[in-house]
Amino acid sequence: MAVRVGIVGIGHTRFGNSSEYDLADVLAYAATDALQDAGFLEHRKEVDQVFVANMASGLFCHQSAVASAMVSRLDMEPVPAELVENGPASGASAVKLGYMAVASGMADVVLVVGGEIMRKVSGWNATDIVSTMLDTDTEYAMGLTLPGFGGMFTRLYMEKYGLTERDLALLAVKNHDNGAKNKYAHIQATCTIDAIADGPEADVVNNYIAEPLRMYSTCPVSDGAAAVLLVNMDSPKAKRFAKRPVRVAGVASATDTHCVHNRADPLQLTAVRIAAEKAYKMAGLTPKDISFAELHDAFSILELAISEEVGFFDRGKSFLAVRKGETALGGRLPINTSGGLKSKGHPVGATGVSQVVELVRQLRGEAETGRQVKDPKYGMSVNFGGFGNNVVAVICAKD
């Protein structure tokens, strides 16, 4: 029987502007929270492995080898530590590698920390740095950016399925409602449909970023970190932790063409579908079993498209469910209870870990008042790298 892997500790900084701080400190802060949450801070040198997820500290902060820096900041030497880089999916990739380390028998306790400081540079520079994940000659050189691909994807979806800009605004309203109650969110403020879509000033308040995507359909540039402590639930060590483990029931990833233009159907996010199918199979679950989900809404359209690819809704139907409130808190299937990337923020290296932290908070029943899903059993996260060319799905279970 395969080893059961569980999460016994979680940590999270408030996302936002932490540009005055050192990245190693921000990572170490979230890691300390996770170790403390697990009641393992004094025993931190007994951690078998540390994985640090980060996308581009060399470009954002002119800093490399951040795993070594963080371990030293935590006084954890000689614990082994490595950096995991997989674009904006670095976080969930690190969780996956942590799972693999425990499942393989090489480690019983693994600390996974994801973080990014993006706001040390200007917004224009940050957009450029994030764009370096695109194909160098055929996309980046053209001047393309991630919002550019988000805009082109949105147009295709709108023309095929009848999605409107107002539908995208409804997603922003929903996610800001959730994020306003999340103590870790970057933007803890609600917005109204009148302000960003229906009212006379909406065009100014909610200006275009990459047509037809507007500002309220695009995530902010954020700093922050998140951490989880993974353990072998079947090891005698499992009894040493203060918190009951939340089991990682499924974790899987998949890749797609690096160049977006080479996809046979540019509206299909094949890597999302394959990663989710593999995660369901590993967990022995189907989409109907999932109680709530954290989906990578760097652009609001992605929340819709991902929710269809993972099997929650038929193709082209997810926005109809949003109109009916099915994905709101209290709805049939709450999505992005944390506020999502739109409201909680998107420090690229942190996001995948942050999504898993939200799964654990909800499954433990520790979300803030007004944001807690009622009696959830299974939570799913999808962390989306590149423009869908490297995707990780995680399913956590409350046993």
Partner: protein
């Protein structure tokens, strides 16, 4: 943009690649042909044919980007994905006043020196 008509220099080209073994066309070039498994050697360039990728194409989708990265001193730029008559697709700049999905365009290659560093080749769809 650099106007190459003023100088006696080589006009920039973007190349497509064709596997000599099975005839499948690619852009950009893969290391291994996904259809027949034939390997490409980027050093000797043997057994793969290159061809200039330009000319008539159809606009599949497009966007107008208002938050450009550092280096682009423009209010906005338009981008799109097109399909060439040989079936290959490419991303690049769209330089028409009113883009529309399905629009017939012509692709040409220009050099851009907007970003720091060496100039790069870009597709312009007009």
């Amino acid at each position: 943009m650099i106007d190459f008509s003023m100088y006696d220099v080589k006009v920039p080209k973007i190349l497509g690649y064709q596997c000599d073994q099975c005839g499948t066309k690619y852009y950009p070039a893969p290391m291994i042909c996904s259809k027949c498994g034939h390997r490409r050697d980027p050093v000797t360039k043997r057994h793969w044919t290159t061809f200039e990728l330009e000319g008539p194409c159809t606009l599949l989708t497009w966007t107008r980007v208002w938050n450009l990265p550092e280096g682009y001193n423009k209010k906005f730029l338009q981008f799109g994905i097109v399909q060439f008559e040989n079936g290959l697709r490419a991303s690049g700049r769209v330089e028409v006043d009113e883009p529309k999905t399905g629009l017939k365009l012509t692709a040409s290659v220009e050099e851009s020196d907007e970003r720091p560093g060496k100039p790069v080749k870009i597709f312009v769809f007009k």
